[in-house]
């Protein structure tokens, strides 16, 4: 009735809207209407019909398109085209060499193997698509006037969908309502970016104050937003209500496909982007394909093979022409006319023969090489995946190979570029010390506690390795005495009581618990500071009670309380409770919470759900209770007065935020709740205080700080709390006006700066905390412009940025914190052994120079006895083109007093150089004119450290080194800032750590920890490289054994083959294919243990020693010799006899097979049962096929007719005699050479193999001996090399050096010149 009228109106309105939509389409926006309005209308009336539906299809092919599309893709590979060309050539009667159908076989085989592989992959994608498409979700149906279950694929843009807790979002949905009283919805985005912390999403503002339940039928707004794009962190648009009111939409309103709803009972939203247009799908790009160095090298040799092939064909063609010519006009009886019946001239027949020979000799180009390499690589990837040593228990993750075809590159790396934070370090932040109002609080007790954790850790590891006896830490102070030794294995669950082990366990049990190991959570407060906090808060309490203005508080005390408030609220930490499992437990029947009840605090929330949790008794609860018990047993001061606060868990986007919040909690300033517009803090004496959160100006890398604007509940002032990098905050500190306390402010800033330097020197991450009090007017003024910025559609980011800059000025410094970022396990050892392996390690970090240098010392990247060159361009004057490079010496206890040229008694120090360069200087160094010099300096240094570098600079450095030095580079990092570097490097490795998944997404290999790099490179890299290199070489050899060529001399170069076409075509494809695959997959030249103990063995891969260009030719020559032997021994043995062609050709095939297999046997280093099996299988297969083929049909294989040949041969003793003599003669030189080489001049790898064979005791002795000797040897050789080659060209320093495009003044050049001279001196050249 009334509705009908409304509908009619709607349809009319829709038409109008459609017109408008057309208009807006040009504006590159998307308009979304509610679908239910158009349920009655025909399909074309629906304005949303142009948008993609939610059905996803990631498959490449359909049933119909598979064949053409797949073939088309395969023909992109040149080799396939070539082989098809050859196969088709067979159909031309003049030139055909084989039965055309048979000649097609190999190509068809190769193509179909690849096609089947593609088909299978596609089928798997189809299956998973289907599964996803058929997931259920609740969609509002107008007909039934309720939410009905529908498949995901039926969801369309404009549908209303109801989401329940723990459901996965089917599409990108604009949040319209939530059961949460604060109109929030929590989502977990782990599938998108790997971040495990919950994120809050807000209901669209205009639906915020909806009192009753959201009714889709009453919805009639229009949404305009941007076109689908892949930026996860951007969503802009507005919603137009019927009233004409517009409300802006932000990314906070959008729930992305693939995320999971958490902690929210129910939410309703409207679908904005569906299916392939969702941000998640747009972000989803498949694996990348790189070409490895080995493959590039191989392609060159394939090219050589082509040349050899052409030469041989040409030779045969000329030979045939001459042979024809010698008979003159008289044609011998055996010369048959061409298929056309014409008499061919010698020249014409030579030309035809050339083409025929291309077909006959096609085996020279290894058709199965590419497929075999692919198969072997897949197997290698499988083994790398399966390696237990690369599995991390803590995160239950193992190495992932994301790029399947560059495994062998891992064995050839020369330069490693590493990020620091999260890669070398844990990126688990531990609060260490702080400075408040210029007073340092050293937190010695905390430091002791941390030290003990470490001790415990190592002890525990020791004990586990000894199997079962474990110390149990019951007391903080005297863990030695209180050690309880447990022998029983049944107490396994209690075994891991050590700090890290427990962290491991906790994180394993409740997988999503990020950053909550006790080490980070439990902070022992500094007693002095604790007293002050108590004093301060009690005073404040007192003042509040007596309603005195807070400003009367002494400034240092107010600073302290402000400092902690800032720590607590100036962040984006989300509070949750461990007792409250993330996956909200289904409520029991009958328990229907009044949805609208005012749940204003988290505590309330917790109380409400605790009982149901207890009944559930999940894993996570037991783990958390374990933690609780333990901490109460310990009875240390970390137990807080408020049990509720103690249970709270903080989830932060960056771990240092959480560390600070935990630190503040130790001082009883706990964050207990965070809502979009208010933060609740519990302070000692003062109880819970709610700060009205006016704005949050989030962290960004340009500003390097974040701020919150709050209304202070006690003072009622509008206060800005800012937290950020010291370099930026210090510049923003309000210059002291000429007040009475100006001196003290100055003093505080000075002191704080000193402490900051100290912290940095200790390798701590420093942050400055500042505040600013705004007057109402100031705030109103700022707010107005800020709101303008917020609602702007164009350039909103820039405006917000400027707005933030306006606010963050004239700050009042509160204090600074020092956070420790602990080194990951085994980093120094890994770096040391990678170094020994001849890898140059550069660290590129965005961190401060001091911090970076200290971490570098800690992980043994720099060593105290090293001379450190520091390149710092002066920032203040660089615009005028003035630069200076100073040379500093950072080594703390340096044996040599200074680096001045006077101390000339340092001969052995010659090559110990480290280079430290900062971002600013790097900008100059990367300039075109200076990059060569920079590289020259950097190459002569043992380690290079680039600090304060931007992501772009990181990638530029990698690119520079890669392109200029022509070396293989590996970049490893964990954060979004490493992505560009990872993509540029030959091999990108991502640490699947805690800074999201972006690095992993961009990487070729993803590691759980840095230390696994050692085994990945030294063992797997080495193996992959040597296996593949040997296999490729063997392939070339195998195919080059061209016996048919020699036969051409005996058949008038007519292109006939004594080997039956079947054997010829299937020889490489089947008979000799398996053993090499097995060897290529399983062969181990040196054992994993030795490879790790002797990292020097890696150098062979770096120098490409397994596959040098000359080796290809050596193999060719060997193949030439072997083919000669395999041809001429049977030839002379049968010469002058009545042997027929195939009775003679079949033994040759057999001999060639034996020879080739035995050759492989010589090259095989380890023989497992699989090798034996594959070789026996090959031989058995050959004889079986031959016997069957020879017995099957006397007429089928026309024109060749090898009927009963094999059967006859097996009765012929001569055949067996040939089978003995020929392989022996053919392989004698190689065998002899290998034996000589193994005895006289073994390669390091062979020495390693010999070591493998020794008993363990002797081996250990030799290793300890050789370690020192060998390393010195290599290092010396290396640096000698550098001295010779690097510096010679730079002795002539050019007169002018262009920096940043300006002609530099002379002094700069002089400085540079001096610098070079100094370097020369250091290197002992000048």
């Amino acid at each position: 009735m009334a509705r009908d009228g409304e509908d009619a109106g709607m349809v009319k309105a829709a038409k109008v809207k459609r017109q408008r939509k057309k208009k807006t389409k040009e504006n590159k926006t998307r308009t979304v209407h509610a679908n239910i309005l158009y349920d009655n209308a025909k399909g074309e009336e629906n304005p949303n019909r142009h948008y993609a539906n939610n059905k996803i299809k990631t498959t490449k092919y359909t049933l119909l398109s598979f064949l053409p599309k797949n073939l088309f893709e395969q023909f992109h590979r040149f080799a396939n085209v070539y082989f098809v060309f050859i196969a088709l050539l067979n159909f031309v009667p003049v030139v055909n060499a084989f039965q055309p159908e048979l000649a097609l076989a190999p190509v068809v085989f190769i193509l179909s193997v690849t096609a089947i592989k593609d088909l299978w992959e596609d089928y798997r994608r189809h299956r998973s698509d289907k599964e996803i498409n058929h997931m259920d979700c609740l969609v509002y149906s107008r007909v039934e006037r309720r939410y009905v279950e529908k498949y995901w694929k039926e969801v369309r843009v404009g549908d209303f969908i109801r989401l329940r807790c723990n459901e996965i979002l089917p599409a990108d949905v604009l949040l319209l309502t939530s059961s949460d009283p604060d109109r929030l919805c929590h989502i977990e985005t782990a599938t998108l970016d790997g971040e495990t912390n919950l994120k809050q999403r807000q209901v669209v503002r205009s639906f915020f104050d909806l009192d009753c339940d959201f009714d889709p039928t009453k919805y009639n707004s229009i949404i305009e937003c941007e076109k689908p794009n892949n930026d996860l962190n951007r969503f802009r648009g507005y919603i137009i209500h019927r009233s004409g009111r517009r409300d802006a939409l932000y990314k906070e309103n959008l729930l992305l496909r693939g995320c999971t709803i958490r902690n929210t009972e129910e939410a309703v939203g409207i679908v904005i982007y569906a299916g392939h247009e969702t941000k998640a799908m747009l972000n989803n790009n498949g694996p990348r394909y790189k070409r490895s160095k080995l493959e590039r090298q191989m392609n060159v040799d394939v090219f050589w093979c082509v040349i050899i092939l052409l030469v041989m064909c040409l030779f045969a063609a000329v030979g045939h022409g001459l042979w024809m010519f010698q008979y003159g006009d008289k044609r011998p009886v055996f010369d048959v006319l061409s298929p056309e019946g014409t008499d061919l001239s010698p020249i014409m027949s030579a030309i035809y023969l050339f083409l025929t020979m291309i077909i006959v000799f096609q085996v020279l180009i290894p058709i199965s090489l590419f497929v075999s390499i692919e198969i072997v690589k897949i197997c290698q990837v499988f083994f790398i995946h399966q390696d237990m040593d690369l599995y991390d228990e803590e995160t239950d993750s193992h190495l992932q190979c994301r790029a399947l075809n560059i495994t062998e590159d891992l064995g050839q790396m020369q330069y490693i570029f590493s990020d620091k934070t999260g890669t070398l370090t844990e990126n688990k932040m531990v609060f260490r010390r702080c400075t408040v109002a210029g007073v340092e609080y050293s937190h010695d007790a905390n430091a002791r506690r941390l030290a003990m954790y470490q001790e415990m850790d190592s002890e525990e590891e020791e004990c586990t390795s000894h199997g079962g006896t474990l110390p149990r830490r019951d007391s903080v102070t005297s863990h030695q005495s209180a050690r309880v030794v447990l022998r029983s294995q049944s107490t396994k669950s209690h075994r891991r009581t050590g700090s890290r082990a427990e962290a491991k366990r906790a994180s394993i049990l409740s997988k999503h618990t990020a950053f909550s190991s006790p080490m980070e959570k439990d902070i022992t407060p500094d007693p002095q500071l604790l007293d002050k906090v108590n004093e301060c808060s009690s005073q404040m309490d007192f003042m509040r009670f007596h309603s005195q203005p807070m400003s009367q508080l002494p400034s240092d005390l107010s600073d302290i309380i402000d400092f902690f408030i800032a720590l607590t609220i100036c962040n984006t930490v989300v509070v949750s409770s461990p007792n409250q499992p993330r996956q909200k437990v289904k409520l029991s029947e009958g328990y229907a919470p009044p949805l609208k009840s005012p749940v204003k605090t988290i505590e309330d929330f917790i109380k409400r759900f605790t009982p149901s949790r207890l009944t559930s008794g999940s894993n996570s609860s037991s783990s958390s209770s374990l933690i609780t018990n333990r901490s109460s047993n310990r009875g240390c001061s970390s137990i807080l007065s408020s049990p509720s606060a103690e249970k709270l868990r903080y989830e932060a986007e960056s771990p240092d935020e959480a560390a600070l919040v935990y630190a503040a909690r130790a001082y009883k300033c706990s964050l207990v709740g965070r809502l979009p517009d208010q933060v609740t803090v519990e302070l000692p004496h003062l109880g819970k205080l709610s700060f009205e959160l006016l704005h949050t100006l989030g962290f960004d890398s340009t500003r390097k700080r974040m701020s919150v604007v709050v209304r202070h509940p006690l003072t009622d002032q509008i206060t800005v709390y800012t937290k950020g990098a010291d370099s930026v905050i210090m510049d923003l500190i309000k210059p002291p006006n000429t007040g009475e306390n100006s001196h003290s402010v100055c003093f505080i800033v000075y002191r704080t700066q000193n402490y900051l330097n100290l912290y940095a020197a200790d390798g701590l991450r420093t942050l400055c905390i500042a505040k600013k009090v705004l007057t109402k007017e100031e705030y109103a003024c700022w707010l107005q412009r800020h709101l303008e910025a917020e609602t702007a559609i164009q350039g909103r980011e820039e405006l917000l940025f400027e707005s933030a800059l306006r606010l963050e000025t004239n700050l009042h410094l509160l204090g600074a914190t020092g956070i420790e970022d602990r080194l990951q396990d085994g980093v120094p050892e890994t770096i040391a052994s990678l170094r020994k392996a001849g890898l140059q390690i550069w660290v590129l970090t965005g961190d401060k120079q001091e911090t970076a240098v200290n971490i570098a010392y800690a992980c043994k990247l720099l060593e105290p006895e090293e001379e450190i060159l520091t390149l710092n361009a002066d920032s203040q004057v660089n615009d005028t083109g003035h630069c200076f490079i100073n040379e500093n010496d950072y080594s703390a206890d340096h044996i040599y007093p200074s680096s001045s040229p006077s101390s000339s008694s340092v001969p052995f120090m010659v090559h110990r150089l480290g280079l430290v360069i900062d971002g600013r200087t790097l900008a100059y160094a990367l300039d075109k004119s200076l990059e060569d010099k920079f590289l020259a300096v950097a190459r002569s240094c043992r380690s290079v450290l680039c600090c304060r570098s931007t992501p772009l600079q990181k990638s530029m450095v990698v690119k520079l080194v890669r392109n200029k030095l022509k070396v293989m580079t590996l970049a490893i990092g964990d954060g979004a800032n490493d992505v560009s570097m990872i993509q540029v490097a030959d091999v990108g490795v991502g640490i699947s750590g805690q800074e999201g998944m972006q690095a992993v997404m961009a990487s070729d290999f993803a590691l759980p920890r840095f230390r696994y790099l050692q085994k990945l490179l030294l063992v797997h890299g080495h193996w992959c490289y040597s296996r593949l290199a040997n296999m490729i070489l063997y392939f070339f050899y195998k195919n080059a054994v061209t016996l048919i060529f020699w036969y051409q001399f005996y058949c008038g170069f007519s292109g006939s083959a004594m080997i039956d076409q079947w054997y010829l075509i299937f020889f490489n494809l089947m008979f000799s294919a398996f053993p090499q695959l097995i060897t290529g997959t399983l062969d181990k030249d040196v054992s994993a243990e030795t490879l790790q103990q002797l990292p020097q063995l890696y150098i062979s891969g770096q120098n490409s020693e397994e596959y040098k260009p000359y080796m290809f030719w050596m193999n060719m020559i060997d193949a030439f010799y072997q083919s000669l032997v395999c041809f001429f021994i049977p030839y002379f043995a049968y010469a002058d006899s009545d042997v027929d062609l195939f009775t003679w050709g079949t033994p040759i095939t057999t001999l060639a097979l034996f020879t080739i297999l035995l050759h492989l046997g010589i090259e095989t280093k380890t023989w497992t049962w699989m090798n034996w099996l594959s070789i026996s299988f090959s031989i058995a297969l050959f004889f079986t096929v031959a016997l069957c083929y020879n017995a099957s049909c006397p007429t089928c294989y026309s024109p060749s007719n090898p009927y009963w040949t094999m059967q006859r041969l097996l009765q012929d003793p001569l055949f067996y005699f040939l089978c003995v003599i020929t392989p022996v003669t053919a392989l004698l030189p190689r065998y002899f050479y290998r034996a000589c080489q193994g005895t006289l001049f073994p390669s390091p790898v062979q020495v390693g193999r010999q070591l493998d064979k020794l008993p363990a005791e002797t081996r250990r002795n030799i290793l300890s001996l050789s370690r020192t000797k060998y390393v010195n040897h290599i290092e010396q050789a290396k640096h000698h090399y550098h001295n010779l080659f690097v510096f010679q060209p730079y002795i002539n320093v050019p007169d002018t050096i262009t920096v940043m495009g300006h002609r530099q003044p002379l002094e700069c050049n002089l400085v540079l010149l001096v610098f070079y001279v100094k370097v020369f001196w250091i290197l002992g050249l000048v």
Binding site: T356, E393, S1137, V1139, Y1203, Y1231, T1239
Partner: protein, 353 residues
């Protein structure tokens, strides 16, 4: 490193600790150094030496007689005659004499040989129709295209057997006569049948089904190959069962030789009668040749070979010599390696590097 029993729970993704997956399969890894390979070298040298000597002794016991009759004896006349194609139809016969110094004991094989005849040319080899040879009626009437241009004659009649191989069949025939000292010449009896592979005679080559028809009737409607003087069903005038595609000479000819110089079996000495029961006695012999096959176009030679065989084949000294040479090479290498081992590798010197 305990084995994980369950695949659920916290360590779900932990890889299996199996020898295969961890690449710890038990393996034999031989080192190729002087001291490890030396025993093998010496052993191989001995083996080869032994085999070489054995083979040499075996080969020594064979006898062989080769006779190039292209222009020998009275054959020069026929040779000249065959130079002219127009004389192809005229018969020509000649006689060549030779003597054997020592008796050929045991089975004696009579070969004819051709030199410089490339039976292994690609297009020549392909020019045949196995399906026709196996007796398929269909192919008898319409030979395979492989036979081209020898599929039909000028009248369009299909050729049987078609193709260049059959067309160029060797058609000299020989009569070997033994001139016993003081006695009258005695014809040496040769077995001209049963000299093919059993499978060839019975499976690969068969005449079309006769069904009470005589052979000429079966081959009616086909033409003889261009160069042949008589049709395929009259190849052996003496034995009617040896005609058509199952003619031994044809079968042997159709087995294409591997090299341009080859011999093909013509017959085996029939040792039923004296004086040939123990072999071919020493003495003078003559061969009467019906000289038909022209060789001058391709500068070829024709010969006859009389030889005895061992289990190992004919008189070919290559293999024993190859064994002996290889054996000495291995020995040489082994000695060099011994020296190397003695000088450098004995005390594990390379371990210290």
């Amino acid at each position: 490193m305990g084995k994980v029993k369950t695949k659920t729970g916290p360590l779900a993704r932990r890889p299996d600790n199996s020898a295969f997956k961890q690449q710890r399969l038990p393996a034999w890894s031989p080192m190729l150094t002087a001291n490890t390979v030396l025993p093998f070298f010496y052993f191989m040298a001995l083996i080869c030496m032994f085999l070489g000597v054995w083979l040499l002794l075996t080969v020594q016991s064979t006898k062989e007689m080769k006779l190039d009759y292209t222009e020998a004896g009275t054959c020069d006349r026929c040779f000249e005659k065959r130079k002219n194609v127009s004389n192809a139809a005229q018969p020509c016969s000649c006689t060549v004499v030779f003597s054997i110094g020592k008796k050929f004991k045991g089975d004696v094989f009579f070969y004819y040989g051709l030199r410089n005849f490339h039976q292994n040319l690609r297009r020549y080899m392909d020019s045949r129709d196995d399906a026709q040879m196996v007796g398929r009626k269909k192919n008898l009437q319409t030979p395979s295209t492989y036979c081209f241009p020898f599929t039909t004659d000028q009248n369009g009649q299909p050729i049987a057997p078609c193709g260049a191989v059959a067309n160029s069949m060797f058609n000299d025939s020989f009569v070997l006569t033994y001139h016993m000292p003081g006695g009258r010449p005695e014809k040496v009896p040769l077995l001209r049948q049963g000299i093919t592979w059993y499978t060839d005679k019975n499976i690969k080559f068969r005449n079309p089904k006769t069904e009470n028809l005589t052979l000429p009737e079966v081959f009616k409607g086909t033409a003889k190959p261009l160069y042949w003087q008589k049709p395929v069903y009259e190849l052996d005038p003496l034995d009617p069962t040896n005609n058509g595609f199952i003619n031994d000479d044809l079968i042997i000819w159709m087995r294409e030789a591997a090299f341009p110089n080859f011999k093909k079996l013509y017959g085996v000495l029939n040792r039923a009668k004296e004086p040939f029961t123990t072999g071919l006695p020493a003495g003078n012999y003559s061969i009467e040749i019906s000289y038909n096959f022209p060789v001058q176009y391709f500068r070829g030679r024709k010969e006859v070979v009389l030889t005895t065989l061992t289990w190992f084949g004919g008189q070919n000294h290559f293999l024993p010599i190859a064994y002996l040479v290889t054996s000495s090479l291995i020995l040489l290498v082994a000695i060099v390696l011994t020296v190397v081992w003695w000088k450098f590798g004995k005390n594990g010197k390379n371990m210290e590097e």
